[in-house]
């Protein structure tokens, strides 16, 4: 099985590549990047004409929720990975807040086996920090790491106890993994449905203050610093968090942070009208937070772009705002939203943005991939940066239809997703297989 991607603009930040080039793939591995005019196109070579397109390492989502096991009505590994493929992702890291919580070797093995059998893209399991993510006792992190957990997180909720978090950082570091922290002070955020500010006052919804996040970001930084362990902050959403991470990185703390598309594309003003597809945790923040996130990305304080893809059923979301669950189904719109907010505004270069969706998350968690280095797995995404599309639910792959972007016309869409040399998505359509 051979594949030739011809004539695209190849951007491979890890190797400092940004040029018109061809990529030659054989047996699921990248064989060559360069000029293919010498290669005689044999019958067996499938050729993809990428002229005028962007050819980049397969996108890696460091943060998504696939819901299986237990939440199959919201999403399955099949539907979630198909959504990923449609969004240009070749690998996703699955958060462990399933039912049961993925807090043991069994959970990791299940996820790997299901992903192997049914997944359209690679799935990297994230194990829970504490048993049942209840925040009380450490889960079997060494065991989980040994069988393939790529990181540990109780995402969906914070680890309320500082002593437990300190132990978790130390233990995770021992097994060579990073803690991913969902930063939220549970008491300050209690009963909150949206960002605390003007709009929460207008709409009469209980607010989640920025401080609820920032207190925990500060705590994680101080704990990571004292333990000497790495920590990754999930879904950074406030200006204060950006500032805390900036200061910590300046003094050498091993802290990284990720940003989600909705925190760049939307603000709390979008909650007016009580559309529950805007209910997300952390909540859509104020305009100044959005600007601070962009500035943080521009300055390299925040280095990873994630989706926090959080699918829910239509019934769960068709409720009073207070009672609806938090989350946005984000895999299928992430790239064009990032393009709109980061490239079209001149905030990042294409090279920088690609790095934040490929090599940066891969390096942070020690994953294969994220590059087009010869000899590495052939995970490649092709983007048509000129393509304009209006978001509809037609062709939508995720079971979670909770997207606030329906009707938005966005530019720059993934048009092919190649995982291990196999084309899983082409021309916006999933390849049946």
């Amino acid at each position: 099985m051979e594949l030739l991607i011809k004539g695209g603009r190849v951007v491979d930040p890890a190797n400092g590549v940004d040029q018109i080039a061809d990529i030659y793939i054989e047996n699921g591995v990248i064989k060559a990047v360069g000029n293919s005019s010498g290669v005689s196109a044999s019958e067996q070579v499938q050729v993809i004409d990428a002229t005028g397109k962007l050819v980049i390492p397969g996108l890696i989502d460091i943060h998504c929720h696939l819901r299986e096991p237990g939440g199959e009505a919201k999403e399955t590994i099949v539907s979630g990975t198909r959504a990923a493929a449609r969004g240009g992702f070749t690998a996703v890291c699955a958060m462990p807040n399933t039912s049961p919580v993925c807090d043991s070797q069994t959970g990791i093995e299940f996820l790997k086996a299901r992903a192997q059998a049914t997944g359209a893209v690679r799935v990297y399991p994230i194990g829970a920090i504490t048993k049942g993510s209840s925040g009380q006792e450490l889960a079997e992190m060494a065991d989980m790491a040994a069988c393939g957990a790529v990181a540990f997180s109780d995402d969906g909720k914070p680890v309320p106890r500082s002593d437990i978090m300190r132990l978790a950082m130390s233990y995770a570091q021992m097994v060579g993994k990073v803690i991913i922290s969902h930063c939220e002070d549970p008491e300050l955020a209690k009963d909150g449905a949206m960002h605390e500010g003007y709009w929460s006052t207008v709409l009469g919804l209980r607010g989640i203050p920025s401080a609820a996040e920032e207190i925990m970001v500060a705590r994680e930084i101080l704990l990571a610093e004292s333990v000497g362990a790495p920590v990754h902050i999930a879904h950074v959403s406030t200006a204060g968090s950006v500032e805390l991470i900036r200061q910590a990185r300046q003094r050498g703390v091993d802290v990284t942070g990720e940003v989600c598309p909705h925190h760049l594309a939307l603000t709390d003003a979008a909650v007016e009208g009580y559309d529950t597809s805007t209910k997300v945790n952390p909540p859509l923040r104020a305009d100044k937070d959005r600007e601070a996130l962009k500035q943080g990305l521009k300055e390299g304080v925040l280095t990873i772009l994630a989706t926090d893809h959080a699918p829910h059923t239509a019934e769960e979301k068709a409720r009073e705002y207070n009672y609806a669950p938090f989350g946005i189904s984000g895999l299928e719109t992430a790239w064009p939203l990032y393009w709109k907010e980061l490239i079209e505004t001149g905030c990042l270069t294409v090279n920088e943005m690609v790095a934040m969706l490929t090599v940066n998350p891969a390096r942070r968690l020690g994953l294969d991939g994220g590059t087009l280095t010869v000899g590495s797995p052939a995970d490649v995404t092709i983007i048509d940066t000129e393509r304009e599309e209006t978001v509809t639910l037609e062709g939508w792959q995720s079971k979670g239809r909770n997207t606030p972007y329906v009707g938005w016309t966005l530019r720059s869409w993934p048009v092919a997703t190649i995982v291990g040399g196999q084309v899983v998505m082409t021309n916006r359509q999933l390849v049946q297989g």
């Binding site: 929460s200 006052t201 709409l203 009469g204 009580y274 409720r319 009073e320 705002y321 207070n322």
Partner: protein
């Protein structure tokens, strides 16, 4: 001049002429309440459902009587006795009521935005009778009607809203309505009961009651939910009464012809002193009568067919 909205979900966004139309229509309605025969045939054959997810005697009775005085058929659904406890969603409940041929649904709900959700899914017109901490438009309209009746106008008046602004839908609706009608609005309460960025709603926020009352034409005293104290929002009921309770002494800072309002039910001796509540310058019972009149006006204005109305 005519009512061009399908629903009445809040006062935010309504224009001055919308509010004036309701207040102007309420005046002749009030006369009907004073007659021996308190009934007009206007809404014969129209059905009004009061869908109340929160206990309320006063507002529900007011809407129910308003409907009956207008000759509409009114039905009450209380959350505790309905399918709500069986877990039926608001949308399904709404569609069921809709399918029975209901013309107007009056909804009271603990969750902010619930009336908006309902309105999106039913053909019936929806009137918000209070949702969470969001809005209570008919209460604010009756407050404004009462003020206008006593003062002749709302334009240029200084109105102080006193109490738990944070949790109050009455305060929010009053703020929007009064601002639209050209009044100056002050809010006053303990800092822990003032919502964030409240000044951005176009009001002045005070934590000292004497300053908030200085020169006020109207004081609207909100009911203090006593259970807020247990949540730690203020230290004691005693301290609240001493610091923020409205009494005769404090009222001296207001204009001489000050008007005192309270949406009820009152905690006498907590947010309002006995001799204030019962004084001539208080219009608390009058508010109740005006509430029926304002709701009759709203039912009347919404009583037409909904075809050709902007949703």
């Amino acid at each position: 001049m005519s009512w061009r909205h399908k629903d009445l979900l809040g006062l935010r966004g309504l224009e001055k002429k919308d509010i004036e139309l309701i207040l102007d229509t309420a005046a002749p309605m009030k006369d009907i309440i004073g007659r021996d025969i308190k009934k007009v045939p206007t809404m014969r054959g129209k059905s009004v459902v009061c869908l109340f997810y929160e206990a309320s005697t006063r507002t529900r009775t007011s809407f129910e009587l308003a409907g009956k005085y207008m000759s509409a058929d009114t039905v009450n659904i209380a959350a505790s006795s309905s399918s709500v406890v069986k877990g039926e969603s608001l949308i399904d409940t709404g569609k069921t009521i809709d399918a029975m041929g209901t013309d107007i649904i009056i909804i009271r709900h603990g969750a902010s935005g619930a009336p908006h959700l309902l309105a999106k899914h039913v053909k019936a017109r929806v009137v918000n009778a209070g949702d969470g901490a969001h809005e209570h438009p008919t209460q604010a309209l009756l407050d404004m009607f009462t003020i206008r009746e006593r003062k002749g106008t709302l334009q240029g008046l200084t109105v102080t809203i006193l109490g738990d602004i944070f949790h109050s839908r009455v305060a929010r609706s009053n703020i929007w309505g009064l601002r639209t009608m050209g009044a100056d609005v002050r809010v006053c309460g303990p800092s822990t009961l003032l919502p964030p960025d409240i000044a951005e709603l176009g009001v002045k926020a005070y934590t000292r009651i004497d300053e908030a009352l200085e020169g006020a034409d109207v004081v609207n005293v909100l009911r203090l939910q006593l259970e807020r104290q247990q949540k730690g929002l203020f230290p004691t009921i005693r301290e609240y009464a001493r610091t923020f309770g409205l009494n005769q002494e404090r009222l001296k800072r207001c204009k001489e012809d000050v008007l005192v309002l309270h949406p009820g039910p009152m905690n006498r001796g907590v947010e309002i002193a006995d001799d204030v509540a019962d004084a001539d310058f208080a219009a608390i019972e009058e508010q109740v009568t005006n509430g029926v009149a304002v709701r009759m006006a709203i039912l009347y204005l919404m009583g037409g067919t909904s075809s050709g109305i902007a949703h």
